[in-house]
């Protein structure tokens, strides 16, 4: 019984939140172009479901491509930084400097280079989401217990063997943890880019809708992004449990 209550709490909490929101809008008679009630958002979702679907798929596409690039480059760069001190010393300061540039400021530049539309959205998703992956993978390598290294060194292991047998598996929990952050950042990146410089994607849809004061449609956009975000987050969390169960084993005791 308590098990089911615990498992379904997120659903109850969400329903409660929506009911509260509906009642709030009804009681205070709030105009739909200020804060639309959930029913109006649902109406808008149904009315525009075809264009919403089209734009959502575009956003999902740019996000996933950017995210995939971030995984590949983030993993490689993280490994390089974590393994080779010289790479760390050379690249890390630059990376921190680069990461502190707001990605919104880069979008216009990307537009000049690549034109508006898909490519800047992919690039923004990539640029914003690869940093946490790099940092986490490098941290995973940097925090290897010296005792584990001694085990391999005492066998006469070479550096590449140490990396393969200990470095990479040891940094995997850090890698998967960073993916959960990175996937949500990737969504932010592509939506930001779409809302500045695109004529497709949820970001564009919401900008266009707000220009027409179609606030229910803006909220419909929020809902769609949130749902896609939750699904992608859950998928990375699943991958984390699947591949690094040995690091998250303590969590199993809770259920």
């Amino acid at each position: 019984m308590t098990y089911w209550i615990r498992r379904t709490v997120p659903i109850w909490a969400t329903i409660l939140f929506i009911v509260f929101w509906q009642v709030f809008c009804g009681v205070f008679r709030i105009d739909s172009f200020i804060l639309p009630a959930p029913t109006e958002v649902v109406q808008s979702l149904m009315q525009y479901h075809q264009p919403i679907m089209m734009h959502a798929l575009q956003t999902l596409f740019t996000t996933l491509v950017g995210f995939a690039m971030a995984i590949v480059f983030g993993l490689l760069l993280g490994l390089a930084i974590g393994i080779e001190r010289a790479v760390y010393d050379g690249i890390y300061p630059m990376m921190i400097a680069f990461n502190s540039i707001p990605k919104v400021a880069i979008v216009p530049l990307l537009v000049i280079w690549f034109g508006i539309g898909t490519v800047p959205a992919i690039m923004t998703a990539f640029l914003i989401s690869f940093f946490p992956i790099v940092v986490n993978v490098a941290t995973g390598l940097a925090t290897i217990e010296p005792e584990l290294l001694d085990v391999l060194r005492s066998l006469g292991a070479r550096k590449h063997q140490i990396v393969m047998r200990i470095g990479i598996p040891r940094s995997m929990p850090y890698f998967f943890a960073s993916l959960k952050v990175a996937i949500t950042l990737a969504f932010i990146g592509s939506v930001v880019s779409e809302s500045i410089a695109s004529n497709v994607g949820i970001g564009y849809l919401m900008m266009a809708a707000s220009a027409r004061f179609d606030v229910p449609l803006v909220f419909a956009g929020f809902v769609v992004i949130s749902i896609m975000g939750i699904i992608m987050y859950e998928m990375t969390a699943y991958a984390e449990r699947r591949f690094t169960f040995w690091a998250t084993r303590a969590n199993d005791i809770v259920t």
Partner: protein
């Protein structure tokens, strides 16, 4: 053991750790001669450089002065004929017990290059070894599913799987409870009698040293020097019953008095 059968030689070996603004004189003029297949225990107060001594023999550290030689060759880097076990079992949590034991075979030649081809054969070997220490049925368990004693047994198997000629043990039972520890003395003795590698056991448990070793060296506190060398003449295999006999208790007492002197002298 005669001098010419010696397998591990330390000749006036000193070790100084240097960091940016300090240097620590860890070992001073250590001379030891260990025969092939001999079981040596090194005891001494904590911080006397016992672990450093093992790292010198294994090649993880290089001597500041003096010569360390194993099998007639001066040690200039990590030895490939040695196995090591530490106070912590240091098993890899992402590998099953079986895969942990197999690890050295994936690293040390000639096994590494034929590992994939002969995996079945190597696995059978690892299972046999695990059975020998009483871990049959735990091959697919992960280290964090094993008790401390079981982890340490697996760690011993990992140190032995590639049949090293030298086995270096750094307080391998130090973190275990007394009963498990005494049980593992028997396990270790059996493994040693079975394969006769040359052993160096670092410990601060004097009963453990007397139970297991042929020869016991007592070291002084920092910088570590050899204070004495004692031979244990008890017959093998030794049993827990033997530990209550006077032939066993007397050397333990004698060692304890020496340790007190060493610590008092500081």
């Amino acid at each position: 053991m005669t001098a010419n059968s010696s397998f591990i030689e330390l000749d006036r070996v000193s070790l100084t750790y240097k960091s940016r603004n300090s240097s620590t004189h860890a070992l001073d003029e250590i001379t030891m001669s260990i025969g092939a297949g001999e079981f040596v225990a090194v005891v001494g107060p904590s911080g006397c450089g016992k672990s450093s001594l093992l790292k010198l023999v294994s090649g993880l550290h290089l001597a500041t002065s003096g010569v360390v030689a194993v099998a007639g060759q001066p040690v200039s880097g990590p030895l490939k004929i040695s196995g090591m076990a530490f106070q912590n079992a240091t098993l890899l949590p992402w590998r099953s017990t079986l895969d942990n034991v197999l690890l050295p075979l994936q690293i040390v030649e000639p096994h590494a290059s034929r590992f994939n081809k002969h995996r079945d054969k190597y696995e059978a070997k690892a299972r046999n070894l695990l059975a020998l220490v009483g871990l049959s049925g735990f091959e697919q368990k992960y280290p964090w599913e094993l008790s401390g004693g079981m982890q340490q047994r697996s760690s011993l198997c990992r140190a032995l799987i590639h049949e090293p000629q030298v086995l270096l043990l750094d307080e391998p039972f130090g973190a275990l409870d007394a009963f498990t520890r005494e049980e593992l003395w028997g396990v270790l003795q059996r493994l040693w009698l079975d394969r006769k590698p040359t052993m160096i056991l670092v410990t601060h448990d004097l009963r453990e040293a007397v139970y297991l070793a042929d020869t016991i060296y007592v070291m002084t506190a920092r910088p570590g020097r050899i204070m004495s060398k004692t031979s244990v003449e008890l017959s093998r295999p030794r049993t827990l019953k033997d530990t209550f006999k006077s032939e066993f208790i007397e050397p333990v007492q004698a060692l304890r008095i020496q340790i007190s002197e060493v610590m008092g002298a500081e």
